[in-house]
C-alpha cells in the first residue's frame, strides 16, 4: 500500500453534526427557502425539567432558537404574559388556522376529566391539560413529545399514579415524534426541530423516535464495555469497571448518551454512576432498582 497523506473527512463529532444541521437550517431560513415556523411549548403534568434542559442548548443556543429559528408563541414557563393574556395567544393561534409545531412536555392527567392538571383558566373557566393537548394536537403540523412523561407517562405515571397520568399518544390519534429522556437532551429536541424545518420529518424507528439520536444501545458504546466482556464488575459506584452487577440499564436503553454526553457534552451518568434507563420506555417503574448491592456474584 502506498503511503500518502490522507486528509481526514469532515468532522463527525456530535457537536460538528449538530452544528452542520443547524447551519443548514440557518442558511435555508436566511435564503427564505423555508419559513420560520410557529412553535408552541405546552407544559403538562411534569417538573419543567425539559424546558430547563433546553435552556442549556448549543447549536443553536436557546436565544437563537426562539428569535431566529422559530417563533415561540407560547411557553408558560418563559413567556411574559400571564392568565387570559397568555391563553389568548393560544386561542388566537388556533383561530388563525396557521401552521405550527407543538412540543409537549409532561404527561396527560386523566383523573376527574383532567382536573388534576390545569394549564390555566380562561374567562374564569379552567383549561385542563387534557383539553389543551387534544385541542392543539389536532391542529399542529407536527407534534413532538419531549421527555419521558410526554412519551409514555414517565415519573408522572409512576406507581401509584394518583393523577392517572398517561403519555400523549394515549389521547392523540396521530403521528407523534417521541423524544424520551428524563430530561430530554437539548440536542435531541433542537436537532429534531432543525430537521423538521430544513428537511421535514426525520427518519423514525418503530416507536417513533428519531434514528438520528435513538439508534445506539448505550451498552454498545459504553466506555466500560470491555470490562463487561471480560467479566470485571464494579462492586461499588467508585470503581471504574462495568456497572452491570449494580443495576446499570445501559444494556436495555437506546440513545446516544455515550457519544453525545451532557452539560455541553462533557459528562454523563456512567461517568459516576449507573445508567437508570431514563430514555427507555417504562421509566422509572420498569427500570427499578436503579442501584442494587444485593445482587449476583461476579
Amino acid at each position: 500500500m502506498t503511503e500518502q497523506t490522507i486528509l481526514p473527512p469532515e468532522p463527525v463529532t456530535n457537536e460538528a453534526i449538530a452544528k452542520r444541521l443547524f447551519e443548514d437550517a440557518k442558511q435555508k431560513l436566511a435564503e427564505g427557502n423555508v419559513s420560520k415556523p410557529k412553535l408552541v411549548w405546552l407544559e403538562l403534568n411534569g417538573c419543567s425539567g425539559n424546558i430547563i434542559s433546553l435552556l442549556n442548548g448549543q447549536n443553536p443556543g436557546f436565544e437563537y432558537m426562539i428569535t431566529s429559528m422559530a417563533n415561540l408563541v407560547y411557553s408558560n414557563s418563559l413567556m411574559i404574559p400571564e392568565g387570559n393574556q397568555a391563553l389568548d395567544r393560544l386561542f388566537e393561534l388556533l383561530r388563525s388556522n396557521e401552521p405550527f409545531i407543538l412540543a409537549v412536555e409532561g404527561a396527560v392527567s386523566l383523573k376527574n376529566n383532567g382536573m388534576y392538571q390545569l394549564v390555566g383558566s380562561y374567562d374564569g373557566k379552567p383549561l385542563t391539560g387534557l383539553q389543551a393537548a387534544k385541542m392543539l394536537g389536532a391542529k399542529a403540523t407536527h407534534v413532538i413529545a419531549v421527555g419521558a412523561c410526554a412519551v409514555d407517562g414517565g415519573p408522572s405515571a409512576a406507581k401509584p399514579n394518583l393523577s392517572q397520568s398517561v403519555g400523549l399518544q394515549q389521547v392523540l390519534e396521530r403521528k407523534i415524534i417521541k423524544l424520551p429522556g428524563c430530561p430530554c437532551h437539548p440536542d435531541w429536541f433542537l436537532g429534531t426541530l432543525s430537521h423538521l424545518i430544513a428537511y421535514g420529518e426525520p427518519a423514525l424507528d418503530r416507536r417513533d423516535r428519531p434514528l438520528l439520536f435513538y439508534s445506539t444501545l448505550i451498552h454498545d458504546r459504553c466506555p466500560r464495555l470491555d470490562y463487561f466482556h471480560k467479566g470485571i464488575f464494579s462492586k461499588t459506584l467508585g470503581e471504574p469497571y462495568c456497572l452491570f452487577k449494580l443495576g446499570c440499564r445501559g444494556p436495555v436503553t437506546r440513545v446516544d448518551c455515550p457519544t453525545r454526553r451532557w452539560n455541553d457534552h462533557i459528562n454523563w451518568p456512567i461517568g459516576a454512576s449507573t445508567c437508570i434507563g431514563c430514555s427507555q420506555f417504562g421509566f422509572p417503574d420498569q427500570m427499578a432498582p436503579f442501584i442494587s448491592y444485593e445482587t449476583t456474584e461476579g
Binding site: H229, K230, F233, T296, E297, G298
Partner: protein, 187 residues
C-alpha cells in the same frame, strides 16, 4: 515480562492494527466490507480503551493480562467455591476466579429439575445466581446484559416468566436460544 510491558506491547500491536484498518477503509469500495472493517475498528478501539484504563487503574493482583484468561463468566463452571464476602476492589478481576457462595446449589446439569419453590431461590440476590423459566425450561440470566441487578423491565429473577415472555417477545423466539439452559421446571 512485567504486566506493564505486556500491556504496552498489546497496545502497540493494536495501534498498528488500527492504522492498517483505517488505510484499508480508504481503498475499500464494497459497502459490506467497509461495514465489517468499521466494526473491527470499533472493537480494536474498545480493546485499546480497556487497556489504557487497565493501565491507569494498575491492578496489582493480575498475574497475567492475556485476553484468553478473561472469558465471560457464564462459561466458567458454577461449582461451589469458598464464599468471599466483602472482597477488596481488585478482587473483581476474574483472574482470581468467579466466587460463588456455598449456599447456592450446583446447577450445571441441564437435566436438573426445579420446582417453583426451588426456582424461587435463584433470585439473583445476595450472591445467588439469577434463573428464569420460560415454557418449562430454566435459563441462567446471571450475566445476561439485559438482566442487570437480576431484574428486567420490572420483572425479577427466580420466576416462571412464560406469560411475560409471550406478551413482550412474541415472534422473538431466537432470544431463548441465546440463553444458557440449566434445567427443567416441574410442577
Amino acid at each position: 515480562m512485567s504486566n506493564q510491558q505486556l500491556v504496552r506491547q498489546q497496545m502497540n500491536t493494536l495501534f498498528s492494527e488500527i492504522q492498517y484498518l483505517i488505510r484499508l477503509l480508504y481503498v475499500t469500495q464494497d459497502p459490506y466490507m467497509k461495514n465489517l472493517t468499521l466494526n473491527q475498528l470499533w472493537n480494536k478501539v474498545d480493546q485499546l480503551q480497556f487497556l489504557t484504563q487497565l493501565e491507569g487503574s494498575a491492578c496489582p493482583h493480575t498475574s497475567a493480562i492475556s485476553p484468553e484468561v478473561k472469558t465471560m463468566p457464564t462459561a466458567l463452571p458454577m461449582s461451589a467455591m469458598p464464599a468471599q464476602p466483602q472482597l477488596p476492589a481488585s478482587a473483581s478481576v476474574p483472574s482470581q476466579g468467579m466466587p460463588q457462595t456455598q449456599t447456592t446449589p450446583s446447577s450445571q446439569n441441564p437435566q436438573q429439575s426445579f420446582t417453583r419453590e426451588q426456582l424461587a431461590q435463584f433470585d439473583g440476590r445476595n450472591g445467588r445466581p439469577a434463573y428464569v423459566a420460560v415454557k418449562g425450561i430454566v435459563y441462567d440470566v446471571t450475566n445476561n446484559a439485559a438482566w442487570s441487578a437480576a431484574s428486567h423491565f420490572g420483572l425479577s429473577a427466580g420466576k416462571d416468566l412464560t406469560q411475560e415472555f409471550a406478551s413482550c417477545h412474541a415472534g422473538e423466539q431466537w432470544i431463548l436460544s441465546t440463553l444458557t439452559p440449566v434445567g427443567r421446571l416441574i410442577d
